[in-house]
């Protein structure tokens, strides 16, 4: 880094020697272009845009000796002389979920109304958020009428601060339409869901894993018990209030005959 700044130093040695080398980084073209708002006299007297930017920012350095990255970002993002106020570079906006309109959504909305809470796409992936009371009907319909015949995955996400603590996510795929979709529902801690083993056999182990890791109960499941953890284990490890080092000490002591698993 120091070498780089030295380089830019030598290109335009006319700038004040007092300013830290940081500020001498070459400013992108857009930055200098948008600086047309700067006082005309300055722009006229200065020969190159690079020099213009430099002299403009010289006072800024006196005010706020910003780190290299921040200064560069400011120059690139704002393009305006930062002398006015020490601004923080705005965070780049991430992609946002967009509403998803399609025949499928319209059909489902017509039948279930407010049962469909949200239909969106995020980064090109489609998903529904549905009310847990109509979840089973919708999933059944997804298989029979909309041909989502393959249940890829069932999983959960825990949000302890929310009222409805769990997101249950069903990832579905349609062999006919080569289409993937996610159906999500939100449930409270202790709320039960109806099993979908009758719809897709594969749900058997997947639901058992959700039960094992999150403690979500599926009514009507043929064999709902722990799958990855031993039967007598206490606690649900993938909940957020279960720290990574926590273990069922009692189980470890009784069954493994050791003081602790760590």
């Amino acid at each position: 880094m120091p070498e780089e700044t030295k380089g830019s130093n030598s290109v335009s040695p006319s700038a004040g020697g007092d300013t830290p080398p940081v500020e001498k980084a070459v400013v992108p073209a857009e930055a200098s272009a948008s600086q047309s708002s700067a006082p005309l006299t300055k722009a006229e007297t200065l020969a190159t845009p690079a020099e213009e930017a430099k002299t403009d920012r010289a006072p800024a350095t006196a005010e706020k000796p910003a780190p290299v990255a921040a200064a560069k970002a400011v120059a690139a993002k704002l393009g305006a002389p930062p002398a006015a106020k020490p601004s923080v570079p705005p965070k780049p906006e991430g992609p946002k979920p967009e509403p998803w309109e399609s025949e499928l959504v319209t059909r489902l909305r017509r039948q279930y109304g407010s049962g469909i809470k949200e239909a969106s796409t995020y980064l090109g992936q489609r998903y529904f958020v549905v009310d847990s009371s109509v979840l089973y009907e919708i999933l059944l319909r997804m298989r029979d009428d909309e041909l989502f015949d393959y249940c890829v995955d069932i999983t959960a996400v825990h949000y302890p601060k929310r009222d409805a603590q769990f997101d249950i996510v069903y990832v579905l795929y349609s062999f006919h339409n080569n289409e993937r979709i996610r159906v999500k529902t939100q449930i409270k801690d202790g709320e039960h869901l109806r099993t979908v083993v009758g719809i897709w056999e594969t749900a058997n182990w997947l639901e058992r894993e959700v039960y094992d890791m999150f403690g979500v109960t599926f009514d009507g499941h043929p064999d709902l018990k722990r799958i990855l953890l031993p039967d007598g284990w206490k606690g649900y490890p993938l909940r957020k209030d279960y720290p990574i080092l926590q273990q069922d000490k009692e189980w470890v002591q009784i069954n493994l005959g050791i003081e602790s698993g760590q």
């Binding site: 015949d149 393959y150 995955d153 999983t155 825990h158 062999f175 056999e201 594969t202 722990r226 990574i244």
Partner: protein, 384 residues
């Protein structure tokens, strides 16, 4: 007095004594420490003589809490962990994870990185199928394929070692592309391997394809109908052997797979023999892909513009790839911080193993061994 009464009770065939009736049904444990369960899988078998009436899988002996670890590591730090799930196909695991995070970041690896990834992943597919073939054949009683497969797999591991320094858990890819540039002579090594490997593949086939013992032990064993496969969520070669032509590389192409010409082999009967043929053919197709990719390896950068600290925007993404064992999916939820809020792995082995019960009902105990082998499970991935 009581003695004789007991004895007669035992001998009386009409008695409703349950202990006697139970004697015809035998419940035995297979595993967890059993050489043909490919790790630590415990199968509880309910038998009538040698006939299997039902099974129950007990899994979790290798559970390490990979998903929990993922929530407690940064995106980049978690990358090596995924290699430890399916440890015979670690490159595929890494590819799936990196691609999912890239999707979350909305970046794409540069073309050269994509080609490198395809070459290494296909090499890894061959290596994985070689481990499967060797152990599967060994389970059924053919000893030689094991030695042949492991001997030839060594050549792939050498390429991995030269490329990234590791043989098994490679950590070959990074989020945004590849860290390592191909070494001098990488393409030549890959092409040399292809030339070396095809005759070896014929050798494997010579040993097995028309071998009468092999055919008798595998034909008609562990049949899965296509509709059962779909209901059970079974993917990969097992699904294709049942006649469903479905491969994520073709149906939802990722990386640069759309640039290559290759076929998706399918079977007809969905039995163990067809699954064997499908995987053998898949190795041939992998060779085709490697040849094309090494010939056309583009120049350019191997890393996309990814920030040093990976902080995806708030959101969630599911992405899956065609791993050697089936659909390997990752569901990652980001809360905008440097660590994933939730990482869910959709492991193909876990889901495929569920089909075991349906496949072995009515077969003999010895066939259970063949069916476990043909499912090609890795317990590291089943248990995570």
């Amino acid at each position: 007095m009581t003695d004789t009464k007991d004895r007669t009770a035992y001998l009386d065939l009409d008695t409703k004594d349950e202990t006697f009736l139970d004697a015809t049904e035998l419940v035995i444990n297979m595993g967890p420490q059993h050489p043909s369960t490919h790790g630590v899988l415990r199968v509880i078998l309910k038998l009538d003589g040698e006939k299997v009436l039902g099974t129950e899988c007990v899994i979790g002996y290798l559970h390490r809490g990979v998903e929990k670890i993922g929530e407690n590591r940064t995106y980049a730090m978690f990358n090596p962990y995924v290699d430890r799930m399916d440890y015979v196909a670690s490159v595929s695991n890494g590819l799936g994870y990196c691609e999912t995070v890239e999707k979350l970041l909305n970046v794409e690896a540069p073309p050269r990185a994509q080609y490198l990834r395809v070459i290494l992943t296909e090499l890894c597919r061959i290596a994985s199928h070689q481990v499967w073939l060797g152990t599967h054949a060994l389970d059924i009683g053919a000893l030689t394929p094991l030695f042949y497969c492991f001997r030839d797999r060594e050549e792939i591991l050498k390429i991995f070692e030269k490329y990234c320094g590791a043989r098994l858990t490679t950590h070959a890819f990074r989020i945004g592309g590849c860290l390592y540039e191909a070494y001098d002579g990488f393409e030549q090594d890959c092409k040399k391997f292809c030339d070396f490997f095809l005759p070896k593949l014929d050798e494997y086939e010579e040993l097995l394809t028309t071998n009468r013992i092999w055919v008798e032990r595998t034909k008609g064993v562990g049949i899965l109908k296509p509709e059962d496969c779909i209901a059970l969520g079974v993917t990969g070669p097992v699904l294709r052997a049942s006649g469903v032509k479905w491969d994520l590389r073709k149906r939802q192409p990722y990386e640069s797979y759309k640039d290559f010409d290759f076929d998706v082999p399918t079977g007809q009967n969905g039995d163990t023999y067809d699954r064997y043929l499908v995987r053998i053919e898949e190795m041939r197709q992998a060779v085709r892909i490697i040849r094309q990719a090494s010939d056309r390896l583009p120049q350019g950068p191997i890393m996309a513009k990814v920030p040093k600290v990976i902080k995806p925007a708030v959101g969630e993404v599911y992405h899956s790839i065609e791993a050697p064992k089936g659909e390997l999916g990752y569901f990652i939820v980001s809360d905008g911080s440097t660590q994933p809020y939730r990482v869910r792995v959709r492991p193909p082995s876990f889901v495929n193993l569920q089909a075991l019960d349906k496949m072995v009902r009515g077969l003999l105990v010895a066939d259970v061994v063949a069916v476990i082998g043909t499912l090609d499970i890795v317990l590291g991935e089943v248990d995570r």
